[in-house]
């Protein structure tokens, strides 16, 4: 295992200490509760946004705390959902009197822990709403299963809900907008290499030198198929097809295309992939009016990428364009 860390035991704290040291204007870290909180929280009268999940997906979520996005993030151990105590502490820290929204990626652990935290917060007389993100088309959705995983749409939901909250929108409406993002977004990912959980010390899975995994999750969960490495153009096709069918996306739609690196993917490859996605969408009469290219929801040092499409309307576009200033996402500010 080759990592720039001091030890598997301290990696999360060390990373949080680095984040706090680099961005004191934007965030502060409460090391007792292991939470990242917006520097000037709580913002009186504003809906507070809290998200969280296992660590190892940086910049998600801590890198999105700041102005116009999250008010707090709860990082768990690597790939392990945080505990309700963290979420409760975060909820208390960001409650400015207008209620708090929990943005939860759909994994049993995240869902259950946030659920308990919401119950505790409500017992505290804090108004809490929850939205679960489940955009990963690699997993079959069904009423009788744990359902689809939450992946790339989380970043978009946090940005858009964050902009709505910053504009003074009330809790239920912010939650509705967050749900609207989730309803209109679909994602699919792939991996060229495995990742190594620091505490485990060895790769989560093995892939041959000429193999890739299509439909991978952000914790190295197995995907739909393992197959021989293919050119970027074919990979783009394999990732986009199930997304386009699922919603479905149609000719005439306007979308935000988010091409995401898994942590070990260089930018040159993400732009090669963006080019292929743009070509395919153009051929289908779908217009990309906004895009995001970079590594924003990662899986440690895994090489690979994911693509997320979000169907846009004027409302979502305006909220996407609104100013944001966080360690990892910044514009118009």
């Amino acid at each position: 295992m080759k990592k720039l860390i001091n030890s598997p035991e301290t990696v999360v704290q060390d990373e949080l200490a680095g984040l706090a040291a680099a961005h004191p204007d934007l965030v502060r870290v409460d090391f007792t509760n292991q939470i990242v909180v917006r520097a000037d929280a709580p913002v009186v009268g504003k809906v507070g946004l809290v998200s969280g999940g296992g660590s190892g997906h940086e910049p998600l979520h801590g890198g999105f705390v700041g102005r116009g996005m999250l008010d707090a993030a709860c990082p768990g151990a690597v790939f392990t959902s945080p505990v309700p105590d963290q979420m409760l502490a975060a909820t208390r820290a960001v409650n400015g009197g207008a209620g708090v929204l929990h943005i939860v990626k759909n994994y049993t652990g995240d869902v259950l822990n946030f659920e308990m935290a919401a119950e505790l917060a409500q017992a505290d007389n804090i108004q809490v709403a929850s939205v679960t993100i489940d955009d990963d088309v690699a997993v079959k959705d069904s009423l009788y299963t744990a359902g689809r995983r939450g992946v790339g749409a989380t970043v978009l939901a946090e940005k858009i809900a964050g902009a709505a909250a910053a504009a003074g929108t009330p809790l239920e409406r912010v939650a509705d907008l967050c749900r609207k993002v989730n309803t209109n977004a679909r994602s699919m990912g792939m991996a060229l290499t495995s990742c190594t959980v620091p505490a485990a010390g060895k790769p989560t899975f093995e892939l041959g030198d000429d193999e890739m995994e299509i439909g991978i999750g952000i914790h190295g969960e197995p995907g739909r198929t393992r197959m021989k490495l293919a050119p970027a153009a074919s990979i783009a096709e394999m990732l986009l097809s199930p997304i386009l069918e699922d919603l479905p996306f149609r000719s005439g739609d306007t979308v935000l295309a988010f091409v995401n690196g898994m942590g070990g993917t260089p930018l040159i490859e993400l732009y090669v992939m963006y080019n292929e996605f743009a070509r395919i969408l153009k051929g289908k009469g779908i217009t990309i009016s906004r895009n995001l290219v970079g590594s924003y929801i990662t899986s440690l040092e895994m090489a690979g990428c994911s693509v997320t499409l979000l169907k846009l309307d004027d409302e979502l576009t305006q909220l996407w364009d609104a100013p944001v200033h966080t360690p990892a996402l910044r514009w118009r500010a």
């Binding site: 768990g76 151990a77 790939f79 392990t80 959902s81 945080p82 505990v83 309700p84 105590d85 994994y107 049993t108 652990g109 259950l112 822990n113 659920e115 308990m116 997993v139 079959k140 069904s142 009788y144 299963t145 744990a146 995983r149 959980v197 505490a199 485990a200 989560t204 999750g217 914790h219 190295g220 969960e221 197995p222």
Partner: protein, 208 residues
């Protein structure tokens, strides 16, 4: 033949030992169909429980169990944290104020625990989760106690039923938790949560 606070504390200590010993085994099971942390999670949680127990060593059994529940909720994370946490919290609530448990009380406590897990996790028998071990264990315990068997015999029956339920998870296709992402590929693997349930119940016998 009843179980007093000392028995309960001994069981918890033995559970912590067993989970620590079986940490890698549980994690390996979780690696096959989950994310390779169940043993790490449970060991972290019960290590915290051990640290916490001295502060409630003189309390009633309900308080002890609730303390175990809140400690697990606060330290385990993942799916198993809220599930085991809720189980212990519900059992503790059902047994609030008790200094000693009769066999029937143990049935009450374990039933409350099972209901807590099912309510929290929305899982039924057959979904390849801890419910598949705990549910038959509660049934077996109930039957044994009703037919007047000794506590030891009843706990033995519960442990054996849990183990059978755990074995029965092997062919199942998971429809809850992380393993459900695997669909058909989750078959042929033993569920880690059903395994930790079995270990905990088996520890009740050794701990007596």
């Amino acid at each position: 033949m009843a179980a007093d606070r000392v028995c309960i504390l001994a069981w918890l200590r033995r559970s912590a030992e067993v989970l620590h010993e079986q940490r890698d085994y549980l994690t390996t099971l979780d690696a096959a169909i989950g994310d390779a942390d169940h043993g790490i999670n449970m060991d972290r949680g019960f290590t915290a429980v051990m640290d916490k127990l001295p502060s409630v060593a003189e309390a009633d059994i309900g308080t002890i169990l609730k303390t175990v529940g809140t400690t697990l909720v606060s330290t385990v994370g993942g799916a198993s944290g809220p599930l085991y946490g809720t189980a212990f919290l519900r059992a503790g609530t059902a047994l609030a104020g008790r200094q000693e448990l009769q066999p029937a009380d143990i049935v009450t406590g374990l039933e409350a625990a099972l209901e807590g897990i099912k309510a929290r996790g929305h899982a039924q028998v057959g979904e390849k989760t801890m419910v598949d071990a705990l549910s038959p264990a509660v049934e077996a315990l109930k039957v044994a106690v009703a037919s007047g068997e000794s506590l030891e015999e009843a706990l033995y029956a519960a442990g054996a039923a849990a183990e059978a339920g755990m074995q029965a998870t092997i062919p199942l296709v998971a429809t809850k938790g992380r393993a459900s992402y695997l669909g058909e590929r989750s078959a042929d693997h033993q569920d880690p949560g059903a395994t930790s349930v079995t270990l905990l119940l088996r520890a009740a016998l050794n701990g007596k």
